[in-house]
């Protein structure tokens, strides 16, 4: 029997850390990172997580398309 000294990182912990590391990148698209963190990078995602993420991305694209030209966006 092996020792349990090397406690395993749970998927939830790993995914949370992964989400945080994504938002930590300078060149990352923050809005998209938040969408992925909110809907996809979950140990127990919602049943319609993909659809919700897709709708959020489509909304984001629409919002950005409506911004006056020349206004900066993240990423």
């Amino acid at each position: 029997m092996e020792s349990d000294s090397d406690e395993r990182e749970t998927p939830d912990t790993f995914l949370n850390a992964l989400g945080e590391s994504l938002t930590g990148y300078d060149c990352i698209d923050m809005d998209l990172a938040v969408i992925l963190t909110t809907h996809i990078l979950k140990a127990a995602p919602a049943a319609n997580a993909v659809a919700e993420a897709r709708d959020a991305i489509l909304r984001l694209a629409t919002e950005r398309a409506e911004l006056p030209r020349g206004e900066s966006v993240d990423g």
Binding site: M1, F14, L15, L18, L58
Partner: protein
Amino acid sequence: MADPYFLQSLSLSGFRAYLRPKTFNFRDKRCLAIFGPNGSGKSSIIDALEFILSKDGTLERLGQRAINNQAGPVALAHNLAQEEKITPHVSISVISGKEVMTGDRAADGARRLIPSVASTINTCFVVPCIIRGYALRNFVETHTPEQRYADIAGWLQLAPLADVQKNLRSLRSQIKTALEDVTALRRVDSIIAQETAQEVTSWDSAAVLAHANTHVLAPLDPTLALKALTVCDPAYVELETRTEAEESEIGLAGLRQIRRAAASLWSETLDAHSAEKVVRGAIPDFDSIQCAVAVAERREIEERNKAAGTMFQALWKAAESIYAEGSVEQDACPLCATPIADTVAGSAEGIHDHVTKHLGELADYARAKKQLDDARMAATRAHMHLEASLLNLIGLLGDAHAELKSKLVAYQTRIADWPNTPAPTSVEIAASISKVLSNLDNAISRIEAKQGDHTFLKAKAKIDRLLALEMERSQAFRVRGELEALSETLATMTVTISSKIRGKVQLLLDTLQIPMNDIYRKIQGKGAKPIRLELPGEDDTNQQRINLVVDFAVNRGGVQPGGYLSDSQIHSVALALRLAAIRRFNTRAPVIALDDIVTSYDADHRRNIVALLATEFGNYQIIITTHDERFFNYLKDQLEAKAWHFTRIVGQDPASGPRFADHRITDEMIEARWLDGLSAANEMRQAEEEWLLNICRDFGVSVRIRPLERAYSYERSELASALAGFLKDAKLEPSLVSGVNNRFLTSLVTGAIENFGSHFQDAPYGGGSVGDEKARWEEFKTFRNQFACKRCGRTRFQRPLMLKKPVCSNGGCEAQFQFSALEVI
């Protein structure tokens, strides 16, 4: 670290092969090995464990229940359970430190709720603790890399990570689909086709601009033309200015509306047939009805005078019947008794004619009165209509028609006083309306001749719709552009995420790969080629796969095991991976259930697996079922007796379930076989082996002639040879048993290595008759009896280290061992 969980007991009742309650107790010996032929019910024990731990209260191999297939949970219960009124259920008792938890789970009905103790221990099983032999080969050969990934990801609790990768792929796919969606652009095309009367069926900026200039602006002003479809274009600015100017004037539509309102009051047209002038409208209608009322009034007055005696109407009516023709002639008036002859009429006929005349006058009056009432009613309606029409026209007239408006207001005032005052004459107002109508007709004709239905207002509205469409189209393109950018970013982020997940999975795979190969080599030998668990390449879009490959030869690197490894090697790969994962992750519940895992192994590999369990999993609680008797015997030989309980299923009792025997074969069991007319060859061989092992243990025979890497591996021939060597060194010589040639006994005497038969290879006993077996058994018993204590007759011995010969283990005897005299058979 918390105390690990171990099973204390497992009870089955009405479950699978076990009709009557059967409890497997692990309190004294935590491990259990069960031998039983196929179909004897040994796997039901593993089934019970799987069932009570399962989330859905079923077994994976039962499949899903469908209509009429009797699959799924129905198969959990013993087929006679209902008839015997036994409630199918499984009970479990688990201990952690000093804490004991128990739970029970019904195995029939819809509510087969998992007991809390099972939920608790399930949290400790990162990797499923049950390993079934039939599933091992599937893992290596039948499973796709995707299924294998899902399995391993599940074992390593990476299922959420696998889901993340799957969801990311699905998300990327859906965004790609959204990018290809042209619904918004098709909508624009559909509307532009309607707006241009199908002249432009799909958006073309130049064509749309040309349509706007040619069909919308040019009819109003040929000099007005847009250079671009934008609100900044000078032509659009001019269009706005002219629209505002037009709105301050009465346009064509406004003129038409005023004309309709004026004509509803008074208009003069030519009859198409008679070519005569016809005057229509609320004013002439009202005038006309006024005349009709006057006529009706005059007539009513006339008729009323004629029927002056209307008050006598009842009298005339009553008299009519009295003096009607054919009635009884009256001599005197019924009222005043005046003789008829004395009346003015002078006779009954005269009175009848007089009555008839007056009744006729009354009828004429009634008609005239009704006509007057009807005329007055019509006049009231015409008056109301006239008032409404006047109000409508007055409301529409602006400063340009102030004169008419003033006249209409005056006329309206007088009309409002009707019928209290006489209706005003309409000649003057009709003339004014006629004049305005004429002016309006001229203005309308002029405008229609100039621009038709086109107005700047309409033109601007049309241009605005085209502008809105253009914006909608541009917006659709901008959204698509943004979505493309997001899709590319998503792809980049997906690679980043997948890479991290991949790294995590590979890290965990690495923690398994080394121990897996260690175990694999322990089973298959040092020369076994290492197995690699490989994720797809970094650039592979599908990362949810695990390839199991082996470097079989220099020119056969990274090949699929199925094509190169033997059946037992393939089993060993899967078994090694599962055991490595269990050892790595199931530290809180070191329990392993092995169900018939040695179906394809030869003798060496069976021994290796037993040695592996003894050396690597000595601290585990292991439950083993097997139909392989040789494997079972190896287990008995090499595993610690203090931790293991060995038992065998010797039959199936329809009234209760599997029938168990102790692991020791007794003389009675062998004789029972013969009584049933069956061969006892296997039982004899087993009994001989058990005796051989026991006597070797009691005598302290050294059997350390086996290779070190197979520390617990014994061959019975080795035991025989070692025992023979020991007896020779101790100058103890057993007597030979007379009779048939007995290779087993000879080997003991001579120390010759002999290979005995097994349950699947009956020779040398299998070919004999029951009579031969009985004779053979008597020879063995005769030989065995020599090993009884000469002093007390007991058969258990021990040999302290300082003694060369064993002594009786009976505390009151302890006589040095000597062979007893051979009994005569």
